[in-house]
Symmetry: C2
């Protein structure tokens, strides 16, 4: 099987993404040979390298004349490794069999190994970060970001089956579990390229806004995307995680009346019940309204980019943002 | 119920351990209120604070005139939080219902929450470490220690059901999963008290050796300690983790002959099979030989301490080391 090479996607940074890939492959180290191979395969295969791409492009967009440094490569790698660690642990929670088109670590090695495998990658995240920089302010920012990610995940767990959840509760969790890492990537890319405070803060704002939009679209696709890759549809709903489309539908009186008795069954919902919830949402204006909200965040992301000088990197970032709104998988 | 106060155990450092306790309580932060309370209870209740004690005492033993600094308190707290994180994840692997005399996080909240709860504490470990110091060499040492712990756990998983496992394989895993953290604690205590290179290395050696002895005794108690608290007896054996007493018994021809057909059943071993394995080991010289080996490591730990000047802290560390050999729970 041909290895998927994410760096083909963005020729402007293909050389750099290749280095990121090499850096990650060189970093992963465990005495458990089978697991080592599985982690290397996961790192090498199917990842879109979205976060590393964003970090490198943020560097180039904020300082178009600057060469990408080794520090930037190591930080981009650290963020992808942190992302991989959270994916492995998420798959335990979600009981997912597939990840990036391959059998997941938890399905192949069991949940026990998957717990430690994720932990191992957390340690590699810190290795890489400490190799990249001794800037204390940014080391602290990294620790805070990891905390925000976990706290977002835990906040979401705490809200399970809560029909009274507000949009602000949802947004707080999304800012943590998804947007914090995008924000860090874009901000670090700018800071470690030596950009001015204004540009760093523009990139941070871009990262956070695109991260929120990314998660909203992900949650929309959970309801609309029957063909969504690598993830069983509506798994969130089954486990009591009520994402934006459902929360919006619950605001609609007619939809609410039909949804409440179904949701009240909680874990006892049958496949037909779940299908019914999906149909109610698709027949309401919830998907449209959710998409409008995602657009609000991509608009803000683009507005932040527009404060930067014109450059090829900025053009790609704008294109990535636009594509986000129309992605179907 | 009266809260267990570990700092009563060592009057010389009771004030400092109280501060460690406060520092940990102030650090744990999540928006999931029930989990927050459970983590605070875990931090406050039943922990022996063995590693923080060792760190603080290592500081005092290496620099008897020096007051314990805030840095030392924060590092001692960081090591206990890292230890808590590994305990929470270990309980997922072992399916343990009890921890520190209370219901475990995984039994109370489910494995899903426990995965994230351990991850959350990993982030607090880094928070505290970065709050304590910007010494890059020691930040890297912390990341390496976390890597050693995980790699030791994974090495052990990789060796499951392997009857050909050597003592060196066992030792390598123990050095990682248990001794690395003791070594770091003792070494950091000395370094951050401003001790000389000789004393730092003596304390590092003390920490590693006592850590190895600690794990050997733990593994002996798994076979001998029918009354062992908070942990089902022989759970390691059931999951295919062959610890020192079993590996030693397998070296004995007569015991080997009886053990091999039982162990060959792997996960299919019945309760009677497990009891039979235990009886074979108790009737062999394996426990004695394992205990002799533990003594070799506590002797080395004490030899390292004897290179330090006489002090009350050194006296306590020697006493702790002696007690280790005779502990029954």
């Amino acid at each position: 099987m041909k290895t998927f090479q994410p760096w083909h996607q963005y020729p402007l940074i293909s050389k750099q993404l290749k280095k990121v890939n090499q850096c990650i492959m060189d970093t992963i180290q465990t005495s458990y040979a089978d697991l080592q191979n599985a982690l290397l395969a996961m790192a090498d295969n199917g990842g879109k390298y979205l976060r590393p791409s964003m970090l490198i492009l943020a560097g180039k967009a904020s300082m178009p004349e600057k060469e990408t440094s080794t520090t930037i490569i190591q930080l981009a790698s650290s963020i992808e490794v942190l992302h991989m660690a959270t994916l492995i642990h998420d798959d335990i929670i979600d009981d997912s069999d597939r990840r990036r088109g391959k059998i997941s670590i938890q399905a192949r090695f069991g949940k026990d190994i998957a717990v430690y495998a994720g932990d191992l990658l957390f340690t590699h995240f810190f290795d890489l970060m400490l190799k990249a920089t001794d800037n204390h302010q940014y080391l602290v920012k990294n620790a805070q970001t990891m905390h925000a990610v976990l706290n977002g995940e835990l906040g979401q767990m705490d809200e399970r089956f809560n029909m009274k959840q507000t949009f602000n509760d949802y947004l707080a969790d999304v800012k943590g579990k998804t947007a914090a890492l995008f924000k860090l990537a874009a901000e670090e890319g700018a800071f470690f390229s030596g950009a001015s405070a204004d540009r760093i803060s523009a990139l941070a704002s871009f990262g956070e806004n695109i991260g929120i939009a990314f998660q909203i679209i992900d949650d929309i696709l959970d309801y609309t995307g029957g063909t969504k890759l690598n993830k069983p549809v509506l798994e969130d709903l089954v486990t009591g995680v009520y994402s934006l489309p459902l929360l919006v539908a619950l605001q609609d009186e007619a939809a609410n009346e039909k949804l409440v008795p179904l949701l009240a069954k909680k874990r006892e919902m049958t496949k037909d019940d779940i299908k019914a919830v999906q149909t109610i949402i698709l027949n309401s204006s919830a998907i449209d309204k959710s998409r409008q909200l995602a657009k609000k965040y991509t608009d803000q992301a683009i507005a932040a980019l527009m404060t930067l000088p014109e450059s090829s990197a900025r053009t790609i970032l704008i294109k990535m943002t636009d594509q986000l709104l129309t992605r179907r998988i």
